[in-house]
């Protein structure tokens, strides 16, 4: 993929500029959907049926559900690409249901599948569209284009003048996100934006989005049918069934450990516990200390330590305190006292930001059943082993279960009402007081 080297260097250069401007940029706005319904003429059932939902400022909410379930319809009602038949939409408290939709949409970023870039405009022209429409000065627009390209990890000098078809799928998608964010909208709607790219690129783009959101704190509403994507990106996930009925609206943790019903657990799919590992970072679990020595220590000290250590094992660090070799008792004498030949090389380490899943992977591969955890510059900070992982996962699941139980007794889950939409109580648990 030609984009990788450029993209990463651009991203590194760009993140500084972006965070500098990040302070001035508009962060998210709360969105409130009240009894939203969309009924198409000639259709016996509404496509979206009486949805009430509160999306907090600055959070990422993912709508996930089967195809044709109305999740895209629900998303498009937020910027009124589809006009609701009834119900209200409030953004930051302001009722936008009757405002001029063109003006509304200029305040809401919109990114769609296969990028939606206009092929007859250059990358810069595409990004400049919304800022120009809202009347920014020429120089401000130009600066903003550079800034946005930097932000999404594309080198402005190289990409500004290109046409969309001269970009890879992943690069197009980045430009699509840049265009959506160009006028600094508080809300960003994303309709399966990464649906059309290959899995590796998708993974990169998801990571990028997480990084962006970390800097920008927009309110993001994201539609996908990929539950793993939902878990990765969402602060909260709304699992939607037919007609956008909310089957469950909760944190990924709660949905994984405590699916509300068979529909949700069916959607979560097999391996919920494994997926749960993706949600926890190594820094969240107990990192054990391990006896260490460095290559500069006198041999005698190393011998002594080996004899004293209970596990019969030492971690040998290099001059920069990076994990270098695992040393067992006897390794040294077998290697006739040569550190260069003794022990087994450390071939895999994890950072504190790695997911538990990555850690588990590393532990499973390691023949000693543990992996060294490293800090920012690769220096040793501790060790995670199988027992620690198992304990942590058990605790985690237990905590999730407790929390979900509390949640449920507090009535936090939306209840499924009657089939007939008109008989149903308009509000539901989150309805207007």
């Amino acid at each position: 993929m030609p984009e990788t080297p450029v993209a990463t260097s651009g991203a590194a250069a760009g993140s500084g500029a972006a965070s500098a401007s990040g302070a001035a940029s508009a962060s998210g706005a709360a969105i409130r959907l009240e009894n939203l319904t969309k009924q198409y003429a000639g259709n016996p059932y509404p496509s979206v049926d009486n949805v009430t939902m509160e999306i907090r400022a600055g959070e990422t909410v993912v709508f996930v559900g089967p195809s044709g379930g109305g999740k895209t319809t629900l998303l498009k009602m937020i910027n009124r690409l589809i006009e609701p038949t009834s119900g209200r939409i409030r953004i930051d408290g302001e009722d936008v249901t009757d405002m001029d939709p063109v003006k509304l949409r200029r305040k809401i970023g919109y990114a769609i599948q296969s990028s939606g870039l206009f092929p007859h405009m250059t990358v810069a022209q595409n990004i400049a569209l919304v800022p120009k429409m809202v009347g920014w000065s020429k120089s401000r627009v130009q600066d903003r284009v550079e800034e946005m390209l930097d932000l999404v990890g594309l080198d402005p000098g190289q990409f500004r003048g290109r046409y969309p078809r001269q970009l890879s799928g992943g690069q197009q998608q980045r430009v699509g996100v840049a265009r959506a964010l160009a006028a600094d909208p508080p809300v960003l709607l994303m309709d399966e934006p990464f649906g059309a790219v290959d899995p590796i690129t998708r993974d990169h783009l998801q990571d990028e989005l997480i990084r962006l959101q970390h800097e920008l704190h927009k309110t993001i509403v994201f539609v996908t049918h990929d539950f793993d994507e939902a878990i990765k990106l969402g602060d909260r996930i709304a699992v939607l069934r037919d007609r956008s009925h909310i089957a469950q609206f909760d944190t990924p943790e709660a949905i994984l450990t405590n699916p509300a019903d068979d529909f949700v657990s069916g959607f979560v799919g097999a391996g919920a516990a494994l997926k749960r590992l993706n949600l926890t970072r190594v820094r969240d679990v107990e990192i054990a200390d391990f006896p260490t020595v460095t290559v500069d220590d006198p041999l005698q000290d190393i011998f002594d330590k080996l004899r004293d250590s209970q596990g019969n094992e030492l971690l040998l660090l290099d001059r920069h305190r990076r994990p270098y070799k695992w040393l067992r008792r006897g390794d040294l004498s077998r290697a006739k006292g040569s550190l260069a030949r003794a022990g087994t090389l450390v071939h895999d380490t994890v950072t504190r930001d790695a997911t538990l899943r990555d850690a588990l992977e590393a532990v499973l591969i390691d023949n000693g059943g543990r992996v060294a955890v490293t800090g920012r510059r690769g220096e040793y900070t501790g060790v995670v082993d199988m027992a620690t992982l198992m304990n942590s996962v058990q605790e985690m699941l237990e905590a999730d279960r407790l929390e979900a139980a509390e949640h449920r007794s507090a009535g936090g889950l939306p209840e499924e009402g009657l089939e007939h939409p008109f008989v149903r109580d308009a509000g539901g648990p989150e309805g207007p007081a």
Partner: protein, 215 residues
């Protein structure tokens, strides 16, 4: 007198006719383009209106040009008026059809994106849909021009301007020594003009189709 001598003798008259021919076709094409694109823009969103426009335009095309001009003479008289009306009407079909096909062929996700980022209806049309539909529309204009080149010759029947006069003069005096030369000069002149216009369209295409969508 052979053909070359004939050309040498009459080149001033021929050039004037050729210029008038080209000018008539060009002006009628401008009108037909504006009208055709307008009709396309107004009708492409509706299934039946678009089909009606296309059918009506192709209906006109089935009327023999000589008959149409003949029918127009009692209504608008001789000369320029029937020529212009006939040429514009004949020129419409390819333009209307290609405008409708082109506008309908614009990727709906792009229109969705244009709407979604807050473009007004007019902006969607002018900034996204028409530029993307421009290559097929230009093709329609090109086809229409080729067609009008030939049809414009018939206009001489209604005392219209152009190289058709040369042809008609030749036909009406068949057997005289210059008859063949006249017909030949008129016909070749039209062919030459058509090729010239086509070359210009290639250039126009290079200049007006954005690089991002050029084939």
């Amino acid at each position: 007198m052979n053909f070359w001598e004939y050309l040498g003798n009459r080149y001033q008259q021929l050039l004037a006719d050729a210029f008038q021919h080209a000018s008539a076709v060009f002006q009628c094409m401008v009108v037909a383009t504006v009208l055709g694109v307008l009709i396309g823009v107004l009708t492409y969103r509706s299934e039946w209106a678009g089909n009606l426009a296309t059918t009506a335009a192709s209906g006109i095309l089935t009327v023999p040009s000589l008959a149409l001009i003949g029918l127009l003479i009692p209504l608008v008289g001789l000369g320029v008026a029937p020529t212009v009306i006939a040429l514009v009407l004949y020129g419409l079909l390819p333009i209307v059809r290609n405008a409708i096909v082109g506008l309908r062929g614009v990727d709906p996700t792009l229109v969705d994106a244009a709407r979604g980022i807050g473009m007004s209806r007019a902006a969607q049309l002018v900034r996204v849909e028409l530029p993307l539909a421009w290559p097929p529309i230009l093709t329609g204009i090109r086809v229409a021009t080729q067609m009008l080149m030939g049809i414009a010759a018939i206009a001489a029947y209604a005392s219209g301007p152009g190289l058709g006069n040369e042809i008609f003069r030749g036909i009406s005096s068949l057997g005289s020594k210059n008859a063949l030369n006249q017909v030949l000069a008129g016909t070749l002149g039209i062919v030459l003009l058509a090729l010239l216009f086509d070359a210009v369209y290639v250039l126009v295409g290079r200049l007006t189709i954005p690089r991002g969508i050029r084939a």
